[in-house]
């Protein structure tokens, strides 16, 4: 795995996080929370665009033609495979997963790769408000199940202790390895990650996840522009 693979994973996860946030823009518990969901969704979709733009500059774009047809080619976490049905799912993702991605971005900005240092720094400023939002809602108390799941997937996403994330850290390309990333996430959330057994042998290093599966067909279709085609006038569809 290359650094491009890691950046693509951040990009795909931020894209899915942004889409899932946006789905709650009219369903959150208050008007302010609706607006925050929409704004954070736009932020993360914007971040994913910037990150996709870094791939070429890193020397290798791992995206292949399979991304047009195979939902499992999108490198996002299982947490984003299906739309969230409870506000608690939103809060756990906002507090734990969004912050986990931010911590990884900190590691990129603090590392030795110039293109990542420059292009990712601004994201950290915007993410400050995502963090405040997630942490505040988390303090209100949510069900343990989505929270534990978010923690487990965040730790898995950081990678095994002897994997390529640790290697990037040794080489100085990332300022933190898996152990430091986990520690930083715990510090920021002022909480310890719940104990979980991770089967690293079953872990997929490309998608950075332990569970099989893929994003739902509707969301994949939307990502590929298929939903727009479905609603396009017939004449336009024929001419394209």
């Amino acid at each position: 795995m290359s650094l491009s693979d890691l950046v693509l994973s951040i990009a795909d996860n931020k894209q899915m996080l942004g889409l899932r946030y946006a789905e709650w823009a009219t369903r959150a518990p208050s008007l302010e929370a609706d607006i925050a969901a929409a704004a954070m969704g736009l932020d993360d979709l914007g971040h994913s665009r910037v990150l996709y733009g870094c791939l070429e500059a890193l020397g290798a774009d791992p995206r292949g033609p399979e991304r047009e047809t195979d939902p499992a080619s999108i490198r996002s976490l299982p947490y984003f495979d299906q739309p969230w049905t409870e506000w608690a799912h939103f809060v756990a993702a906002n507090a734990v997963l969004d912050t986990a991605f931010t911590v990884m971005i900190e590691a990129c900005v603090g590392g030795s790769v110039e293109v990542l240092q420059h292009r990712m720094r601004k994201m950290l400023m915007e993410e400050r408000y995502h963090f405040l939002h997630g942490r505040s809602w988390l303090k209100s108390g949510i069900d343990a199940a989505p929270l534990n799941r978010a923690w487990q997937e965040a730790i898995e996403w950081f990678g095994p202790p002897d994997g390529e994330t640790a290697e990037f850290h040794k080489e100085g390309r990332l300022s933190m390895g898996p152990a430091e990333l986990r520690q930083r996430l715990e510090e920021r959330l002022e909480a310890r990650a719940p104990h979980a057994e991770i089967d690293w042998k079953a872990w997929d290093p490309v998608r950075r996840r332990g569970r099989r599966g893929a994003i739902d067909e509707h969301t994949f279709g939307m990502l590929r522009g298929l939903e727009e085609k479905r609603f396009a006038p017939a004449a336009t569809t024929k001419s394209t």
Binding site: E32, E86, H130, S136
Partner: protein, 74 residues
């Protein structure tokens, strides 16, 4: 599903939001948000009023404002 979250009604307080576009102009009120704590109020203020390129934004709890007189009392 979402109505069980009491904090958005009973616990929430109002915050006034102030901002300015340039250093030479004073902060002026651009609106308000309702939130249960300062952190969430900051996140809401930024999300709600970020459409302009403000060089500064600040929030104040409305109940921290000391009123000298109100309309009709001067």
């Amino acid at each position: 599903m979402t109505t069980k979250y009491r904090r958005v009604s009973g616990d929430a307080v109002e915050y006034e939001v102030f901002a300015r576009k340039t250093r030479v102009e004073p902060l002026h009120q651009v609106g308000s948000v309702v939130a249960p704590d300062d952190d969430l109020a900051m996140a809401y203020a930024r999300a709600t009023y970020d459409e302009e390129r403000w060089c500064e934004m600040a929030i104040v709890r409305k109940d921290n404002v000391i009123s000298l007189w109100a309309p009709g009392e001067a």
